[in-house]
Symmetry: C3
Subunit: 481 residues, 3 copies
């Protein structure tokens, strides 16, 4: 294919008799603002608004989907993709420092991405956002690199300019519970406080067997201005930090746990495990129980301060522990495991599932739970919304299977609408666009099968793209602040 | 949409090039009689043949799919949907007693049902059965209510008249093992004994840790005319009651268990647990083991008396125990759990899987077992038939996934054909109609892909809709009675 | 349907607007040679090149898909399908010895196969390979039998002639670790050594609680020429046998385990369990742990000798133990169970997942692991390839679901391409043909949805059908031999 590269306007819409219906539905959502309530873009990017450094640092290195695929085929090792060993774990000698070389490795492996959402997103980014006119390949790598480098130097490609051009209405970052939120304060001072909001992520503080847990407690004490080294102080410090996040504009908390367990312990037992952890004498089972207990506490605090609670369970972090030891936490490949929800969420749902100020958005990497557990739960408990397909399932067929598996039990209105999840800033519009196309295709089938009227489908599509995410992540009510 | 409400004759058939084929197949089944071998309509409805009380009591309150959806969005609480607290658990003050108000709440929330089978069934009921011409909405609620009220007062809308009009050939009710079956005797006296048959459901007697178990034993002793308070007497009483059901026309037993386990205990151990339960000293594990043991006994008794054995496992009853305590058993939301079949059914299948008088129909709420466990088992053991998609899976896409997942291993002829499962009497024709349309669509694809001839597809569709359910639930052979 | 039986050239391709695209893609793969790297055809068939005995022995008896289906409907018992009791377990009186009678039972039950891959394969075999012109039925059974009998007597229907006609480039057999490989030597002497290669299958030696384990150790000692009755000798003997297989042209090992567990034990513990097993005092848990330990050892040996490691876990063998006792091992129906991979494969992947000489092809019967575990693992570890859909999943919709579930995470190039798995020699071309059609249909959808260009789709289809299986099963590098 040597002709100029343009994207087909009907891409990712169903073929045949569904296409005209899908196009009509998609046309109602294509231009809506982006509500991006869960992501991992660093607030500094928008606070500082500096030009992006180079194409590799913008498009390749922060995208773990992309790096994994190149590694999987032996196309490159982590150091060859620019990943450094952590201090003391190895030499930097083999680490690629030439951004152009990293970019070339990606372009040479373009065929590996056939059929993946990474391919769809990158096409959208390269063509629609950056105006690239050549398909990536070994031959075109350098020319595209030069073209992108020139583009990134332009002021209209700085982060805030792109924010406007992307049509972003609001962007949530993810921030440690101990964060000083200085970048968010700077954004607020610039009048961007409503547009870029923090999210409270306390994971390292809730997993008491992590090696850095006591360091984290020190940081929590410092950040909260109260001693978090006993169980009651720890709860009080978490409450204070949540309040600080609310004051900084946060809408939500976020929790990455291996299990979805939310079983509350009695306070004495929780305190005992806390002290054992401080003494370095906690067992894995105790640490697991404590983390489930703390999810219950987080839910209770959400009923107090109005922060939406997001749960992302079921990823076994750092599957290859040797790699993680060399290259640092979360570099050792994360792999999903089967995840149980019905029994695991029962404590929180029995306690707060009908609470008027509790909002609970639950995600999964285990699609077997869609029809069996999550749709039945979200389909009855008023507090619960089923989150959008996450990570490996945030893909054309993954999103289609999600709608097919959950709509018949939970309907559309017990879901969160589209929620992206990325540290790849330039991919955000592509992700929303793809979701809108897939939902249009699913709705078009319902219309074509006379299971829904076209006007209902259009209204539903707009809700999924825009109104439902806004409704799922409301600002905490002033009364609770 | 303000024009008069008519249903498209091609609804729920696939679009495009499959539609004409699907229509031809569907036309062969659309008018077939309804064989309804598993349901929860009260026999009194047909024995008494009284007019239905009001639209809410007919269409809304008994339909838990419908009530759950309204509750899930905070559209109403259970009391606002007409559900009363059990005696001593709370005041009736907040309970809605105005049927029209309940009806309005449903109509105002009509959009929540988009994409759900409830919507399909209700459209069919309102338009095809009751002749309603307005779509439900806040504006039309009262007019539809009045229209329905007038219709329900007509003699041709009484239960028996509808039975004829629905084309029901046979309807199975579900009855406690201790039931006196008086309504079935009354029906038999009216010449309806072959048309409305009971089903033997002994669950409360097999779960020895339920609070009402000893009360149930008293009732069993009374009903069977033999003392069921020791293990041997209990088995004898169950045998007698099964015989009484056979004599009253029953075709089947039905078993709702959390697990599919069918492991037989030795008689001494079973007797020991029975005595422990009588003494109120049974552990949950013992009660679970006893219930699996009793499934094995039920299978053995089926080989003796010819009652088809139905198993419906995998629903965690009363997920919200607080709600169940307030509003009564089964009002606390039932949620599925992952369910294992390969090892769980092994005892019964090794013992009776080739027995010429054993027929075992197995259902699931866990669609992961379709291709992995249930199709391979039903695809080899002669006694086993795979039941139709159940409950949350009794839906357009659920039924399609079922056929796609199981046909390639089990074929069509190791399935039960369509089996509905509802206490919503007026929805029975809609449910059969939807299943016939979905099967027509699946078969049409096989024809279009030249994996089957059209004449074979038509014959198969007729078998799935009519002959297979009749064959799966034969009357016990006279020899065994 | 009484007209002459011809197969539609577009069978198993998607209907409608995808068909012309799918036809164009399929036309690029339809004529490619067959690379058949995993199967159960006896090497003697090709070494001896004798005519096939009769239609039943060729097409019915060795096909367990087919026999199961007839049994499941009570169409015949195992003895009526020609299966003999093992010595001492029962009389041969009821065993059908008339091949024509077995053939008739199959033909009478032809309708049971509607919608199954067996039907597709058999149609292809009967029409395309053997030129049959009548559809199977009770009426046509004898005429087809006579027609096939005449055909099988012709020299151009002997095994080697069919090998040429099928376009087989290479065929792997499966051979016990203790096999003398005499048939493979004979084939090599005839110049067929590169075309028919053995596969090393040590299962009975790795499951130390099987009743024949000590007999197997005797055979291993004999075959390896070294005493395998202590743990070190056992490892040495396995290494020697692997080397003998490499020298006989083997490309791979194959492992059928209940679990995917690969946890290494320390050598002392492994030796202790080995001695306990020799003393007949091993527990099921110890035997299970030892078999996982031995998978780890097999992986290590693969890094030494270059044999590709194939893992086929998750089948519970001989579900009906009574049948297995009567008719012999593997006659008691095999049924899948849920299978965990993320934790189970971690030991091998942490140790060897980036090893340059390790190639690990993993299969599953549990499709829930496709998107959740296997695609994420194959999508990152360079050593791992995801095997083709296996057994119950080697079917039109099973293969489609596989591509839809895994491509978005693992892409195409982390899969093995098509791998058949059969003891039914004449079905091999049909199986490859069906896989090529299904992949063409999947790729056509990506093209129609503008997620891939047509030229990329054609290239990918050729890779899946031909280049990827060759690449997944390379001959061990001479350096390692």
């Amino acid at each position: 294919m040597t002709d100029a590269w343009v994207l087909n306007p009907d891409r990712a819409l169903p073929a045949g008799e569904l296409r005209p219906i899908a196009k009509e539905i998609y046309s109602a959502t294509a231009g809506l603002p982006l509500v991006s309530m869960h992501g991992h873009v660093d607030a500094a990017v928008l606070a500082e608004d500096a030009p992006f450094p180079d194409p590799a640092q913008l498009l390749v290195v922060p995208d773990h989907y992309l790096v994994r695929m190149v590694v999987s085929q032996g196309g490159a090792t982590l150091p060859q993709m620019g990943v450094h060993p952590v201090s003391g774990a190895g030499s930097d000698a083999g680490v690629e420092t030439d951004a152009r070389a990293i970019w070339r490795r990606f372009c040479e492996n373009w065929h590996l991405f056939r059929g993946t959402p990474t391919r769809y997103w990158l096409e959208h980014e390269l063509v629609e956002v950056f105006g690239v006119t050549r398909r990536p390949s070994a031959e075109t790598a350098d020319a595209i690199y030069d073209e992108l480098t020139a583009t990134l130097a332009r002021p209209d490609f700085r982060p805030r300019a792109l924010f406007e051009r992307f049509g972003l209405e609001i962007l949530a970052t993810t921030d440690p519970a101990t964060a000083d939120l200085a970048h968010h304060r700077a954004l607020a001072a610039d009048g961007w406080g409503e547009r870029v909001v923090p999210t409270f992520r306390p994971d390292p503080l809730l997993h008491v067997d992590r090696p850095d847990w006591r360091t984290q407690l020190d940081a929590l004490s410092e950040a909260a201005g109260t001693d978090a080294h006993d169980y009651d102080g720890y709860l009080a410090a978490l409450r204070r930090r949540r309040r600080a996040f609310v004051e900084a504009g946060a809408r939500a908390t976020d929790h990455g746990h291996l299990l979805a367990d939310t079983t509350e312990l009695d306070a004495a037992e929780a305190g005992r495990i806390f002290r054992a952890a401080l003494a370095g004498e906690v067992s894995p089972a105790e640490a697991q129980a404590f983390s489930g207990h703390m999810l219950f506490q987080m839910a209770r605090m959400s009923t107090e301060d109005g922060l939406v609670m997001q749960l992302h369970p079921g990823s076994l972090r750092d599957h290859d522990r040797g790699l993680a030891a060399t290259f640092g936490q979360d570099k050792g490949y994360d792999i999903p495991v089967a995840t149980e929800y019905t029994r695991a969420l029962r404590p929180v749902l029995e306690a707060f599932g009908h609470h008027p100020s509790f909002r609970f958005v639950v995600f999964t990497l285990d699609e077997t739970s869609f029809s069996r557990e999550l749709a039945p739960l979200a389909g009855v408990y008023p507090a619960m919304r089923l989150g959008a397909p996450w990570w490996f399932l945030d893909s054309p067929d993954g999103m289609r299977r999600f709608r097919e598996a959950i709509t018949e039990t939970a309907g559309f209105y017990n879901t969160s609408g589209f929620v992206d999840d990325t540290r790849a800033y330039a991919s955000i519009p592509a992700r929303h666009d793809l979701a809108r196309r897939i939902d249009a295709g699913y709705l078009a089938r319902l219309v074509a099968e006379h299971r829904m009227e076209l006007d209902e489908a259009v209204e539903t599509a707009v809700d999924l793209a825009y109104h439902l995410p806004k409704a799922a992540y409301p600002a905490p009510a002033p009364a609770t602040v």
